[in-house]
Symmetry: C3
Subunit: 201 residues, 3 copies
Amino acid sequence: MEIFSYINIGGTIAFVASGALAGIRQKLDIFGILVIAFVTAIGGGTLRDLLIGQSPVKWLMDVNIIYLIVGISLATILFRKYIDKLDKTLLFFDTLGLAFFTIRGIEVGLETQLSTPSCIILGTITACFGGVIRDILLNEVPTIFSKEIYATACIVGGISFFVFKNFDISQTLLELLTFIIIIGIRFFAIKTNFTLPKIEK
Amino acid sequence: MEIFSYINIGGTIAFVASGALAGIRQKLDIFGILVIAFVTAIGGGTLRDLLIGQSPVKWLMDVNIIYLIVGISLATILFRKYIDKLDKTLLFFDTLGLAFFTIRGIEVGLETQLSTPSCIILGTITACFGGVIRDILLNEVPTIFSKEIYATACIVGGISFFVFKNFDISQTLLELLTFIIIIGIRFFAIKTNFTLPKIEK
Amino acid sequence: MEIFSYINIGGTIAFVASGALAGIRQKLDIFGILVIAFVTAIGGGTLRDLLIGQSPVKWLMDVNIIYLIVGISLATILFRKYIDKLDKTLLFFDTLGLAFFTIRGIEVGLETQLSTPSCIILGTITACFGGVIRDILLNEVPTIFSKEIYATACIVGGISFFVFKNFDISQTLLELLTFIIIIGIRFFAIKTNFTLPKIEK
């Protein structure tokens, strides 16, 4: 679906903006902010490409994505006072990006002939690992390990993908249903402030 | 030796359990605990595979190891109150795993025609790096850099491997002797509370 | 130019020494210091090799670099009281190494037929990423994100490289000019205590 490439761009923009804002909060200089924005946006896809042996990794071959990331980072720095108020818009794009990157990772796994669990893991890595590297670079325990229903939406979405795949539906419908499930879980969790149970020691 | 595949499984189980317990201590949610257990178990082998260009990395192709890790993680969470009392059993398996993964890494290095020092480094990375990533994700300075004779056992074991290799002994005996040396050093260090000297500034 | 291989060795030595000194400051044991020195020296080149799919990564195939790193690390530990006073010598070599590794990364990118921005990024990663991994392992927010004109010298040097390339000059002159620019920026920044502006939230 053509729409997916727009969503890809929207998701990348959201990931870049969230990375840049995290860098600004930590009082990094411009270069530090650029790097954090960069790894947030491409970290998940990079680890995926390394794990499956896709080389060179894809973003190195795509000059447009590099210009997009640098441009959005600078725009985020310039308009930082307004973007903080755009929290909901950002969250919306971030969730679209999460869903898109999960599906992309699963399909790359299928192209590489991986097993179902490996595809689901690859989708989750693609969607979530950029944020994990961002948190490591900023010297924090990665948020997704303790605070939010985030990766869980990817995993449930991934499982759904393979359940739906057993039915005789088109690729487009399959992607669309997975997309809706991931976005649905994420928005439901945000609305209801739902988190996974902590394990009491 | 057939026994090595049992030890491989025992070592993986110990690494998973130690990762899961570390996640529980840090009050992560179930997903966070799963991820920490996963990287502790497969982190070392993954870095090894990336460095030598084995692609896709091996665990992505082995669905059994994924089910094993998820299963043991959930079991560790369920029985966490008892496992803490199993400290010695865990330590025993962990040491077996350490020895096994070191030998495995060295042999992968030999298959890739690497030099002796590179093989020893590769063995040590295979055995120790999962724990290093675990500590980084939990935002701690990796334990093995300051507290325990751990990697040192792998390095000495690796050097012994290549010393023994000069003698005309069978592959099985070579592996067994290396195994005993790594386990011996580790248990001796634990019993006597022996550590490497700190460097006074 | 033959001189570049001397500079390569000089740069590696400086990176090893700076890593080892950082490990000593954190009171690591000998093994920890060796690891920190190692990753500081080879971390940038390793990530570069992984990203472009150079496998096995180059240092695994080069036993001399491994002996050099171990030797310099031990020498740094032995003579630590004197090296601290050698701050300026170290800084000098570190800057030479920074310039050399940037040019090396750019040229590897060109050999891999990457676009201009990708080559500049690859050069910067080669020169700076070892220090980033060192800081992550020591549980600190990477220095280069907030304190110094460091990566910026690589980026400006990289841009200059491609500007000069449009003129009809020899490869040697091209490398030399880039070299001088990177070193010039870095020394100017150190002398004048110049930093990138922090972004006020």
